[in-house]
Symmetry: C2
Amino acid sequence: MTHTVISSHKQEVIIGFDQPFCVIGERINPTGRKKLAAEMAAGDYSTVEADTLAQVAAGANMLDVNAGIPLADEPAILAESIKLVQSLVDVPLSIDSSIVEALEAGLAVYRGKALVNSVTGEEERLEVVLPLIKKYGAAVVAISNDETGISEDPDVRFEVAKKIVHRAADFGIPACDVVVDPLVMPIGALGQAGVAAFRLIRRLREELGVNTTCGASNISFGLPNRHALNAHFLAMAASNGMTSAIMNPLHEEEMTGIMAANVLNGVDTNCARWLRKFRAPPAAGSEEEARRGRRRRRG
Amino acid sequence: MTHTVISSHKQEVIIGFDQPFCVIGERINPTGRKKLAAEMAAGDYSTVEADTLAQVAAGANMLDVNAGIPLADEPAILAESIKLVQSLVDVPLSIDSSIVEALEAGLAVYRGKALVNSVTGEEERLEVVLPLIKKYGAAVVAISNDETGISEDPDVRFEVAKKIVHRAADFGIPACDVVVDPLVMPIGALGQAGVAAFRLIRRLREELGVNTTCGASNISFGLPNRHALNAHFLAMAASNGMTSAIMNPLHEEEMTGIMAANVLNGVDTNCARWLRKFRAPPAAGSEEEARRGRRRRRG
């Protein structure tokens, strides 16, 4: 059973087939958020703070932290953000950048075992990112594309993922510390994007034995009623073996989809999380309330 | 590719892996509906009529018709109900009874190729139901339990389904006319009921090549927020290969789950059904409205 263990200085999260689905909050990311980008560039972290607290309160098991702001000092801002987030919450983090210097700056200040987001199958990326993963004892998100681009064929993407896992092993990084992103395409443009993702996720689990993650909302790009599509995509992906996703935990529908998938995949023991969330409190004065009261008094 | 073709005198429905999920409306069933049972026993079919029209309007592709009323003349009432339903709507029917005489009475009046619900793996049932299926050229729902009861082990249930498919072949009924019900258990009582169902559905599809159906709402029995659980169960089951379900098409959440699964499984071509249902109409006077108007005028 593959377990990817990610930790902060205070908490451990296990990503695995026998574990509840791991929700990685995506909100701390200035891409496409002009106001947040301006704030972070100016050293104002109030929105980062608010997003941190809100995502954890909404049930995120980990948080992704990205500081990709054009013309800004990304390494310094990413390190600053990580220190701040770790001072506020206990959940482990995913350190997210396409700039190697920023990843290193983030890893240098991070307390715990981080998830690094991400490395692709391009040889020059592998050669700079993987040594960093090894140096800091981190885990890494592996994106299944390479120099040749993103194939529409899930079997080609599988081969890219396999190559990354093998290259990671060359650097002394075990397969359990490589979390593969199958690259989810918008289904409005590519009608077979769903079945391609499901097929790839299943092969990654059954043949390569690795955990998987994805940016889930991409699937519904351009379509109406996106939350319902995302929620069912997440549940279907989980049913095919996906074990985590980088997503917005503030979206109720998606979180309900994840919780339902946990129940249906048998990883919400005794449906305890589902019951805690959805069981109506007994009405005051009701028999049930009286019974619970008696139980409380006894216990 | 397995196609189960079911028809009325006016319409054909294909159940298959490359087809949109087939929704079989479950409402015409007096079990647990005291008022409906009393009405039908007294020859009053007004609720049957209302349920027929409402289910088809809500998007049912087929309707299940059951007349199981204790101490009533079930064969006569079932035949009467079928004649009425066929006079009202064009969708094909599933003829549902545990009494062989009622099945035969239903088949005798039915116009088209019916689905018969159901036969179990018990030898004495197989020997009376299968000849009837053959005689009327119908298809049949095969329930994966037998004399030994319902096994919790999906692999034992698979063997029962396989036995029924082989016995059907002995009677000249092809595998494509056997739709297997994997028997979905309540997950509140059996935590592994979901994974057992998904595993069995996948084996039935990949190894036996048969279509599948189930009474989906059973999964959530006893739990809160049942519609969300049912909806995600349906989507996850569809992702593992389930091709139809006997369910209540009046439940919006479940129907949205089915529609999302169709999009994500690539069987809602160009997301046409999803767009038709969820795309907001352009606001009057908007640019989009003007553009559509021009297009309409152009022809």
